[in-house]
Symmetry: C2
Subunit: 150 residues, 2 copies
DNA sequence: TGCATATAGTTTAATATCAAACTATATAGT
DNA sequence: ACTATATAGTTTGATATTAAACTATATGCA
């Protein structure tokens, strides 16, 4: 493969990623109840999967967004009482994020409303292919993450 | 694979896609000269690859953004004289987008400044894997595109 | 021809996001 | 202990994006 082809391929890859992300996000957002956004759902999902009690900084690292964005997102979740922010027990600068009962309830109902989208993928795409791609995508992500300063 | 695993896998896939997109976009944006954004570069790139003379609607379809977003993006490109909007010869409602010389020049220099990022991918990832993933990603994109109303 | 409906592009209001400046607390080196 | 530097979170100003309302032109049908 010559340099030009490599570059074209890489561009094409990122282009495809970008469009998939856009279509998926739009579909997700449209499906989520109550004006909630994927970014909100993702936080709840993360806290449920991996346990709550995280700091805002841990979350902004996990989702690769700035601290300011996380402040904004957590503010929206707090306003709806889906999470509660407590002071950090051992670091006066920090906070800890806890899920509330209504946060958990909302998460469950959001999962429900996303079901039709999940079905579309499951019925139209061989999920084994998805499973095969996943480690490679994680590798790409790791490379980008490692070279974030470039 | 049971339903729960399928759902988890699909979520994970979209999550990975989302983070790659975010990291790549951030890196691209940081590299682009003169406060330009990936969205601007992409339009120029599209017009150079596939030829100019497209309508704004064709572009918003190609990039899966709303017409309003395209108005905004084309406005930014016009203001910098990278494109020129002409009236459509046969449809009074429409317009046609042409590249200017400085648009072409800018595109070339943008490609240059993206080179370091391209190198990182090329040196750290087997591009054959990328090539293998591409058709599958295109398939995913097509599925999402086809079911955009769900 | 003339009216009803569809389509291309713009505008508006709201939200998400980022980078950078800022505040408050921690930590490290002297 | 004191001061300098680092870190957690917030705020600010700018831009991208969306959905929905709006304007202007086209098209189709009576």
């Amino acid at each position: 493969m010559d340099t030009k082809d490599k570059r074209k391929l890489t561009f094409q890859f990122f282009n495809e990623i970008g469009i998939i992300q856009q279509l998926a996000t739009t579909a997700f957002n449209r499906r989520l109840p109550d004006g909630l956004h994927v970014s909100h759902f993702s936080i709840l999902n993360h806290l449920i999967r991996l346990g709550d009690g995280k700091t805002p900084l841990e979350l902004s690292d996990a989702f690769q967004v700035t601290k300011g964005t996380m402040t904004h997102t957590l503010g929206a979740l707090s306003k709806r009482d889906f999470i509660k922010l407590s002071p950090h027990p051992s670091d006066g600068r920090s906070k800890i994020v806890f899920l509330t009962d209504s946060g958990r309830t909302f998460h469950a109902s959001a999962i429900e409303s996303l079901a039709p989208l999940m079905h579309i993928m499951e019925h139209n795409f061989d999920l084994n292919e998805l499973a095969n791609m996943l480690p490679k995508l994680q590798e790409v992500r790791a490379i980008l993450d490692k070279h974030r300063d470039v």
